[in-house]
Amino acid sequence: MNHTKVNQKVKIGAVFEGLNIKPKWFFWINKKFEVKNITYQWKSKIGDATIIHFSVSDGTNLYELSFNQKTLEWRLENIEVE
């Protein structure tokens, strides 16, 4: 299992259902990654901004995406490669 820190802005497609947010796909280095499964979700804080973290899988690898509720910015934080 290889862990890589990415910490880059990504373009993302997400469904907002009431209070739930579900990332569906994201673009990174000119490639589209389909989110097949959200394995976990947690929150953290930077100043007064709440960050929602999603651990998602494209069926092969695991990615950590983050959504800043204040700036509405999505980032790809980490990748776990098998």
């Binding site: 299992m1 862990h3 394995t39 976990y40 947690w42 929150k43 953290s44 804080k45 930077i46 100043g47 007064d48 901004a49 973290h53 651990s55 899988s57 695991l62 776990e80 098998e82």
Partner: protein, 413 residues
Amino acid sequence: MLERKILHIDMDAYFASVEQVINPSLKGKPIVVCGETSADIGWKRTIVTTASYEARVYGIKTGMSIPEAKRLCPKLELVFGNHDKYIDTSLNIHKIFLKYTNFVEAYSIDECFIDISDLKSDPKETAESMKKEIKEIIGITCSVGIGSNKLIAKLASDMNKPDGITEIKDADFKTLSETLPIKKLCGIGRKTENKLNSLGIYTIKQLGDTNIGLLTNYFGVIGYALKNMGLGLDERKVESYDFQRVIKSVGHSHTLPIDTSDMKVIESYLRMLCEMVASRMRKYNLIGKTVSFIIRYEDFNTYMKQFSLKDYINDGYKIYNVSKKILSAFLPLRKKIRLLGVSVSSLIADKDQLSLFDNLNKEENLNKLVFNINQKYGDFFIKPASLLFAENYGIKERCGLIGRHIFDKKGQK
């Protein structure tokens, strides 16, 4: 008096279990959660924080070095811990308990005491229902101990791990205590155990049967507490979830990424710690007048010194100046430093009184402004330039406030 019904909930291999839910490919595998490190530093400066049950089979334990753990299990998977994840998960677990009662006391990040005396349901059924919800919502397991007080409930939760429920009824305690060693009691550490053993006390029952005079002779007032523990007595109540603890000290300590004797790095790191302490004191609206300083050398020899001031402070720069003064007693450094820590105690509430001197008000106003900006945009958004020495040394990431205490978060919710 009616027998109280207390639950002690202990999450099973908590950090490792959360990581196995996040990454399903780790399920069933020996994994350990450890501190983050970089390729150049390697695994020398991190230890096992939590081992999964699969890893424990190989004898891997909390506190073990990574090379040692890897020697025991070469196929061991290492996962970098992230306290934000575990704290948020912990708060979500508390929400499950709060559906039953408000008497939920977070004992640590992965342990809670719950007083369900007011509930009409059977304690075992309540425990089962809580366990089921945690499994369904969070995806992890826990072990539950049931007793008439905190001491017995905690003793019980450890008897059937993982994923168990154990009830110790008061009537059964006496028989159980005949065989259980004293170290099973929460509050009896290795030193106390050795001391008690030297008096011929090995089991809980033997502790309960020991003459109080003998115990107070060897342990002072603690002797009374030890006697009660041996008898299974514990009057401590389970605090309600919104109970605010009295904060006695605010401190931070951290291990440097690499041992150093470079004073520029050490002073910069010290300033960083002082700013962190000051920021938390402001968050809690506290001022204090005793500054404690802790230093650990590369050979693990650790020293602590403190200095009491006439005036109360919560300004990072002032705390830094006092700490630097204490540090000067250790100069010139004969060995490299591994860890530094700073804490402030003798705390009182900050009544926010205006100073008669304009310059002091300006300083205080500036401190408040910086604090408010950092509260809004994140810790160290505005920081003293001298912190750059520490950051260039790789300290920022390791010391990036990721492990803030759970009660800080409770207050933010």
